[in-house]
Symmetry: C2
């Protein structure tokens, strides 16, 4: 069986592809496990990490959102699609046309290409907690309305609606997962408002000073990259009936304050590492961050077997193990 | 100033156009009332009723959803757009491609054409209670998630998301209204599951027998055509700030059972008219109808000055006045 991973050279896509290669099998359109003969890895560029070496990888560099591009990524035996390709929130906000083209129209074209194939593969789609926003209750329930306040969140929420309907009609067997903020992200600190949530762990561990732009009280709803990839595979493995009346789901995460994150860093890596952090509050960033949903009660997902991280200490340890080669700059 | 009404020859579009002509003015992009110089009435066909005669009407027959069609309907002085054109729920369910083309892609193209004009007109969009569905609470709150279970509802919900975002970005000044079931609709009984809700009033008043396919206990969340048109005009008149963090809104309606509707009919038109009704329960229709949301608490809309009908008797009386020329078949 073939598997398609869009955005497969990205931070999460690469981990997913590695996990798929290691498992060697994935659930197909018929609900049974199938050996993976080939993983079509679609991305616009090679990504920052060195390419994964495996004869089962079929790398296709190009823009999946272009007309007919999605069709060329699918085969009669493509049994599972992981649609991760997206323009991130900051970029979708600054470049509206790009966000619409990739996150929205590209996703619709992918759905139509899947429909045209007629094989109804499983589709795991990365939606986001950014689909929530506006006047929110203190705790987000599974029944809480989506009123996104960013273009990124709006595009994700609109695609969720279509995935539900294309699934109801039997054109695809979709599963849309609203990811919490993924922490710890490797790479460099960037202009995204959520950048601090990974940077306060990553930068000190890599020996760099970092000025956190939000107060210790700021909370984040987060999930580790390991758990995200496990959630992708779990979502693909569940029978359609498990989703009931909606194919979209808020993944479980945990609410952690910056103060708690720093305490865990200190516990794992010591005072010297934690001492590389300072606080320089940025009212612009704080305003965005305090507008985010930080408390959820994702009962459906928990009942379906999705799981958050055990605690934040284990998130830090997993980062050191997976991304720093088990060593950090003490 | 110019006004665009898509679906302007339809049942609601025609009433809206008549109301606009009578008022002679509407709120424009600047928030001020402007005299209506021209109403561009867009529709695929002439509609069932004789055309409205007014020199201010500029009738454009054709499919608004075709590429570049929407742009041709807009001018530099189009200050208000009422986007009513849609394929109805039964048709969108049976003909998925048609529903996607008109209700979804057509609406996106209209939004993009408005954006390209750069004048940020007010836009009133007809969404629907069909945007709700699935596992619903007993009473739908403004904070209840949209999990539509029809293609029609999914298409409407997806467009709501984009209208919110295009409005937030300043490309359009949108207002999406989720209409209750509109009762009493003139015309013939049709295959739509909601057809009975109008037919049990209309058919007996026009001297025809009618077999109601659902039990007297069946409830409907409804709004009269008069109130719908008032709601369109009210929505266009409100300042953007009144909508807060979401441009989408469930309109107030009232929950009426079939039994209560029949009682009102009997009160207004007598036993002989009500006697033209029989009950022949249809399990297929009942299953659909009992899946609908019938109880809402539309607090935002009520606070913003939208109003339901006073009682169902007045809905029956308004139908006799507006659609039957004040006479019925006693």
């Amino acid at each position: 069986m073939k598997v398609l991973v869009t955005g497969g050279n990205g931070f999460l896509g690469r981990r997913l592809v590695a996990a798929l290669l290691e498992r060697g099998a994935v659930t197909g359109a018929d609900g049974a496990e199938h050996e993976i003969e080939r993983i079509v890895v679609s991305d616009v560029g090679p990504g920052i990490a060195p390419p994964l070496e495996d004869p089962r990888i079929d790398l296709r560099l190009g823009d999946f959102s272009e007309r007919s591009a999605a069709a060329a990524l699918l085969d009669a035996d493509t049994g599972a699609v992981f649609h991760l390709a997206a323009v991130v929130s900051g970029e979708a906000e600054q470049n509206f046309d790009l966000g619409m083209r990739i996150n929205f129209h590209g996703s619709v074209r992918l759905l139509d290409a899947i429909r045209a194939r007629g094989t109804c593969p499983r589709l795991v789609f990365t939606s986001s907690v950014a689909a929530y926003g506006g006047d929110m209750p203190e705790v987000i329930e599974d029944s809480t309305i989506l009123t996104p306040q960013t273009s990124y969140g709006s595009q994700k929420a609109a695609v969720e609606m279509l995935i539900n309907d294309y699934s109801r009609k039997g054109f695809v067997d979709g599963r849309a997962l609203r990811l919490p903020t993924v922490v710890v992200r490797p790479g460099k600190a960037n202009a995204a408002a959520s950048s601090f949530a990974s940077a306060i762990i990553r930068e000190p561990l890599e020996g760099r000073a970092y000025a956190c732009p939000v107060a210790e009280e700021a909370g984040v709803w987060l999930l580790s990259p390991r758990r995200v990839v496990e959630s992708f595979l779990h979502a693909a493995s569940l029978p359609a009936e498990a989703f009931g009346m909606s194919r979209a789901l808020s993944l479980p995460g945990m609410t952690v304050t910056v103060g708690e994150m720093v305490a865990a860093l200190r516990e794992v890596a010591g005072d010297r590492v934690a001492g590389r952090l300072t606080f320089e509050r940025d009212p612009f960033i704080e305003k965005i961050v305090y507008g985010w949903a930080t408390r959820f009660r994702p009962e459906r997902a928990l009942a379906m077997g999705f799981a958050p991280d055990a605690d934040f200490r284990s998130v830090v340890e997993a980062f050191i193990e997976d991304d720093l080669g088990r060593r950090f700059a003490a």
